[in-house]
């Protein structure tokens, strides 16, 4: 992020602090009758339009789940589409209530920009794709290679770090957008193309001959992507955080959109599920929401696994395996705190 933007965000945040510290975001949202959710202007699998012109995708599903938590109705969302440049100012200025736009959780964004990341919805990492004809098996053998890369992102910095640490030279081919970078790679203007692993998988499916290309085993960065809210309203941050946790916990407990109504009908002999679905205890009231808020969250788009498989999973054209994003019980690192 350039310094102008940083100043603008800081200025906007400073102006808002006085109001924001007391402002109850939840009340504002209820008054507006709609959740303003910041999403991408278009990212395969995460935010895109279907053939009816409706926004859909992994990040959009979170917006819908959160709206369901607040209103009991996943359709009460106003999507605000944001570019990489204006996403932070928009959140700081209160144009949106929550940002669910494949945003990497980093120290400076969390601390310096005055936002609160409420968790990780997708663990990504930067990787490389190259032609098999290169005869290279690992990213560490890429000495002297030309690399297509999107400018102005963390990917660019990660790349420089990786090559410096491994003491190899490369020739960057900087390009403005991901789609153009993909095209440049196809047109053989560079030997390899680097972006987040989820993006590489999506890209690979667009090639005429996917088998002529390989994704190198190295993942050179940590890109924990998750939703974020403004700092200063802990109640709203809690609602956003526990909506995400419900999605993940529901997968662990085996609660799906198909069986949630049955499980929520009356208390069963699993207290964890009972507390989550409101048949026992009063978790909803603690958040300032309805007793059945989690039921509505799960009815919106299902639990984490359902959402993942619908938009990113192996049955979609993107074909992303769960990998790191599997539950900790299945060899991944997805782990949500308990509902008690």
């Amino acid at each position: 992020m350039n310094s102008f933007l940083k100043t603008a965000v800081a200025g906007a945040a400073a102006l808002l602090v006085a109001g924001a510290a007391h402002a109850a975001t939840l009340d504002d949202i209820k008054k507006a009758g709609v959740l303003k959710c910041g999403i991408n202007t278009g990212l395969p699998g995460f935010a895109y339009t279907d053939d009816k012109g409706k926004w859909t995708g992994f990040d959009v599903a979170y917006c819908r789940a959160l709206a369901a938590a607040v209103f009991g109705d996943p359709d009460k969302v106003k999507y605000v589409n944001l570019t990489g440049k204006n996403r932070f100012p928009a959140l700081a200025a209160g144009e949106i209530d929550v940002l669910s736009r494949n945003t990497t959780w980093t120290f400076s964004r969390d601390v310096d920009l005055g936002f609160t990341f409420i968790g990780v919805s997708y663990y990504d990492g930067q990787g490389f794709i190259g032609r098999k004809a290169l005869g290279v098996k690992s990213a560490k053998e890429l000495d002297g290679a030309s690399v297509c890369i999107q400018t102005g992102t963390t990917t660019e910095l990660n790349l420089a770090d990786f090559f410096r640490v491994n003491k190899i030279k490369y020739e960057p081919v900087p390009i403005e957008t991901n789609e153009e970078a993909r095209k440049a790679y196809v047109a053989e203007r560079c030997d390899v193309y680097t972006t987040d692993a989820s993006g590489l998988a999506a890209t690979k499916t667009t090639f005429k001959d996917p088998d002529a290309h390989m994704v190198f085993p190295e993942i050179i960065s940590k890109e924990p992507l998750g939703p974020l809210v403004r700092q200063g309203d802990d109640q709203w941050a809690d609602i956003a955080r526990w909506t995400l946790n419900v999605l993940i916990n529901a997968e662990e407990y085996g609660v799906t959109s198909a069986n949630v109504d049955k499980l929520a009908a009356k208390a069963i002999d699993n207290p964890e599920i009972n507390r989550m679905l409101g048949t026992e205890g009063s978790l909803g009231a603690m958040l300032g929401l309805r007793k059945t808020w989690a039921v509505d969250v799960l009815k919106a788009e299902g639990n984490y696994a359902e959402i993942y498989e619908r938009y990113l999973g192996t049955k979609t054209p993107l074909g992303l395996a769960r990998g790191l994003n599997a539950l900790y019980t299945n060899g991944g690192i997805l782990y949500a705190p308990p509902m008690r």
Binding site: T41, G42, D51, G53, N81, G94, T205
Partner: protein, 370 residues
Amino acid sequence: MTAQPFHRSQAEMLPERAAPVTTVGIVGWLRANLFSSWINAAFTLIAFYLLWLMVPALIDWAFVNADTAGDNRFACTSSGACWAWVDQRIDQFLYGFYTADQTWRVDLAVVLLIPALAPLLFEGVPFARQLRWFSLAYPVVATFLLVGGIGLEGVPTDKFGGFMLNLTVGLAGIVLSLPVGILLALGRRSRLPVIRVLCICFIETVRGVPLITLLFVSNIILPIFLPPDVTLDSLIRVIVMVTAFASAYMAEVIRGGLQAIPRGQYEAAQALGLRYWQMMGLIVLPQALKISIPGIVNTFIGLFKDTTLVIIIGLFDILGIGNAMVSNPDWLGLSTEAYVFIALFFFVACFSMSRYSIHLEKRLDTERRE
């Protein structure tokens, strides 16, 4: 021997002969336009060679080897373009997120544009006098049709998108920026210092920053200074900013025209006892605007293409919506088709504006030129 009278001249007219074959017909045209010198001939040959390389490949890609049907990109198996998705998504290209069963209102607004514009653009339109009243009312009619209200289902402006958004912003900007630009140009040449300084400040400030910055400011910075419960409609913000931007340029174009009018014209008008607005309206501006036509249309075309920048504030014009659609996993990687398709829309719109400007210049040409 009778002396024959010696004639230096022919007694009767020689019959007309056809012009030399090298100066008429196709051959003549070719010689005059394509092969008039060795350099021209060389360029002609190079150009033809390039066309020969490109055109067949383009036709192959766009038509011969193209797929036009299918539910996703995997159905597009041939080597050419995949138009299937353009076919499937044409409504989004045209109307964006506009409520699906209400798109007839957009169509109607576009159809009504014809009688609204015709009497303003062309001479000899029947019922021109009556139609001018309709032209005047058209903005209200169109706004009512698009936004809704009394009796019509309301459609929030953030649902506007696709080419209709480009048209809405472009037309509103064009219609508003010309009068504002004229006023600014007159203000900048005014003898009243306050007006002059204000106009100069506005023009120089707005012209000194990129449009993208103005849009950004209107969207992110403005709400900070406004009371929290005041919400400005995104579309209105865009139209205001685009108009402000275009009118600053327009003002300078028209000022150029004003400066080209000889001093004598002003003095003659004043000698006739005309007041300022009469002098400007009847004598100076008609001449100044006429010579500014190319510049004015240039600004219009620029403005129309700038409407693609609305993506910066989260509105989806035809270009933005094309990008959003190729992010659908079913249609990944089809951006070439999207760009080609979108380019067609812009080319048709901008080329028509350009042709109309030439037509207008010819119609208004009162000077005899060789």
